[in-house]
């Protein structure tokens, strides 16, 4: 066209004019002074108050909706027909009140929301839930479902689960709590969903007890299953074949499931060689299981909560062989079966240890010193309900624990004197939380804050001194450390509430499936390359 080239200088002048004009107008309406700009950009309307949003492509609108909070999303869906349509189409996640009177609305709900892949059906305890026919209808509408969460849908039976499984063969994650179907229904899912990666079952009332119990096998999901979590099952043993058969299982969590697990663990470990994470809480396991588990050479995370038949010997066996251990939580229930001896074994062997939580365990300087010196990556430490953790122990940690970033002390005989040690020790310490330690006063906390400005000091004296720290269960303690919110359906929009960059990053990273390490590295790289903003 022979047009002269816009040089950088010319561009920036234009730009400067634009930005000068526009910067003074932060509000929505276009004023007459900007007629020139409006004329240039406006493609058809006469006055400045036209509905630009109808020019916005559907994709953009969908992008906006997907970032809205659920409440805002609902409001937007009622604005106009186009928004209703797009809002419905762009919804992948849906959480419904699964009461029985949901049933007649199912066709209209799922024709509006035709792209749902993650569905939660939650019923209140006192209401009657949807039944099989509703579940079947939903499954016909949501053929591409990848995640299903059921809560207290007591009217669902094995038959309904079977039809559902046949219609939603792409299911990747199933989480059911307080349902009443049984082994047949569970097997139906396992036999029809070859992509099932995560199974979480809590209180499944239909599973029969005793010898006649029907066993639950891995079915076609054997190769895909990566995570199994079983809670409060009367007959957890019937899941035995499932666990043993899931040859690629990485994470196994057992909470308060009756049965003799010592018989199963050797069998499990024999077949499942790649186990990375094991949580055991109030189940019947002893050193027999721990010795079996020590053969999981890839084990990184171990939680032993209120299992008083597990002793130092068992922990030592694991420590010796599982050298990749990163996170260790022990709630000894004050039974004193696990103490210095086991922890020393951990210190000697598990140099990768990053996180250590000890509840109702009584370690002394002997083990703490060694842990601090040997575990050079120990970043997070929580000590709760220990009779033996006092000022000397805290000083020892302060002096020896170089990598420590977060420290939590609860219901221990620590005093202000011990806190003073933290002013100069632990060079990387970012946060310390002290709860229900009678000897630590607010003056002590203030002193520490004054002497170490960069340290966040959180003191909670508590109304009643709780002697037994382990009553609340493992969740109550060490709650600082960001919990893994593994694919929760219908999680509230986390984006809008960022408590701190690192924790929101972690949660968001986990939720969006992005590698935390990768994104952190990128951020570090970009913050170096970024010019001043």
């Amino acid at each position: 066209m022979g047009q002269s080239v816009s040089t950088a200088k010319l561009m920036s002048r234009r730009d400067c004019n634009h930005s000068q004009r526009l910067k003074s107008k932060p509000t929505a309406l276009i004023c007459p002074m900007q007629a020139e700009e409006a004329e240039e950009l406006d493609r058809g309307s006469i006055d400045g108050l036209s509905d630009f949003i109808s020019d916005l492509p559907d994709d953009c609108l969908a992008c906006i909706f997907q970032s809205l909070s659920p409440g805002d999303r609902k409001q937007c869906s009622l604005v106009c027909r186009r928004w209703l349509r797009i809002e419905g189409q762009s919804r992948h996640r849906l959480s419904l009140n699964a009461q029985s009177d949901l049933y007649p609305l199912i066709p209209s709900i799922f024709s509006r929301f035709d792209s749902v892949t993650k569905l939660a059906l939650k019923c209140e305890r006192r209401s009657i839930s949807i039944g099989d026919e509703a579940l079947v209808q939903i499954s016909k509408h949501c053929r591409n479902l990848t995640r299903l969460k059921l809560r207290a849908c007591r009217e669902l039976t094995d038959a309904g689960m079977l039809v559902f499984a046949k219609n939603c063969r792409g299911l990747k994650k199933l989480s059911c709590g307080s349902c009443t179907f049984g082994a047949k229904g569970m097997n139906a899912v396992l036999d029809n969903c070859p992509a099932l990666e995560e199974l979480s079952v809590k209180r499944l009332r239909g599973i029969t007890e005793g010898v006649a119990a029907e066993l639950i096998g891995p079915g076609v999901a054997a190769a895909a299953l990566k995570t199994i979590c079983l809670k409060e099952l009367y007959n957890g043993q019937c899941f035995g074949p499932l666990i043993i058969g899931a040859k690629n299982l990485k994470s196994l969590k057992l909470f308060r499931c009756s049965g003799d697990w010592d018989k199963l663990f050797p069998l499990i470990v024999d077949r499942v060689t790649g186990m990375v994470e094991i949580h055991m809480e109030r189940i019947q396991v002893s050193d027999v299981s721990l010795v079996a588990i020590s053969n999981c050479l890839n084990l990184e995370i171990l939680h032993l909560v209120k299992t008083p038949e597990c002793t130092n010997a068992g922990l030592g066996a694991i420590a010796e062989k599982c050298k990749l251990l990163r996170k260790l939580h022990i709630d000894g229930w004050k039974a004193n079966r696990i103490g210095d001896q086991g922890l020393i074994a951990v210190a000697k062997s598990c140099s990768n240890l990053q996180e250590l939580v000890l509840i109702g365990v009584n370690p002394t300087k002997l083990s703490l010193e060694l842990l601090a010196s040997n575990c050079l990556n120990l970043e997070r430490l929580a000590l709760c309900g220990s009779d033996t953790v006092g000022d000397a122990e805290i000083s020892c940690i302060a002096v020896k624990c170089i990598a420590l970033k977060k420290l939590c002390i609860k219901s221990c005989p620590v005093s202000d004197h011990g806190m003073e040690a933290l002013a100069s020790g632990c060079p990387n310490l970012v946060k310390v939380k002290v709860k229900k330690c009678r000897g630590v006063t607010s003056e002590g906390a203030d002193w520490l804050r004054a002497h170490r400005g960069s340290l966040a000091v959180n003191l909670d004296t508590g109304e009643h001194l709780d002697a037994s720290a382990s009553d609340g269960g493992a969740q109550d303690n060490g709650v600082e450390f960001p919990a893994v919110v593994a694919g929760q359906i219908g999680a509230p929009s986390i984006a809008s509430s960022s408590t701190g960059r690192s924790s929101s990053l972690k949660l968001l990273g986990l939720l969006s499936g992005r590698s935390l390490v990768a994104s952190t590295l990128r951020r570090l790289a970009s913050s170096n390359g970024r010019s001043q903003s």
Binding site: Q3, T7, L22, A28, L49, L56, C60, C76, C80, S512
Partner: protein, 194 residues
Amino acid sequence: MAFTWSKTIYMGLDPIFLTELSISIIIFSTIASSKKSRVSKIKTADNEIFEVEEAVATMSNTIKIMAGDCSGGVIPLNNVHSTIFARVIEWCKKHVDDGEDLEYYKGALKNCDATFFEVDQAVLYHLLTTANSLDIKPLLHQGCQRFVDMINGKTVEEIRQLLHIKNDFTNEEEDETRKKLWSSVVGMNSFILL
């Protein structure tokens, strides 16, 4: 060069080798610097031509693909106006080194990019549409976030007023289907927990 020669003779090093080395260093750095300043030529819908550094321009996936097809020639953008394109390029220049983490961009919106988006709806819409058609995800993300902030906490009617949207649900005349749709949508919404 003379200095180099005398120094090398003094040090006993082979001067010819060093000369060759210097020449190749010069050539290499010329290549390197020319690579750095490779420009893309882009023509907007109103026939204005922009010369933009390749790294900046290819933040747009669309331009990246088109550059592959055009191989050195002028890339035509038939539905992007120069005014808006200039703004988009301004944003791209700022973020050329910032990588692809969308969450980072969300945070950046609160800080360095806040004023960039303090624009009228018309400009905002055009930014968003252009970011979409040029496939610049981080910019699209930020633009959407701006809308999210605008919509946050508002009622249906407030949203309509803010964005000048006509409500085609309600009507003055009796229309059974429209009323049914409205009430069923509202009723439906009450079953939706999230």
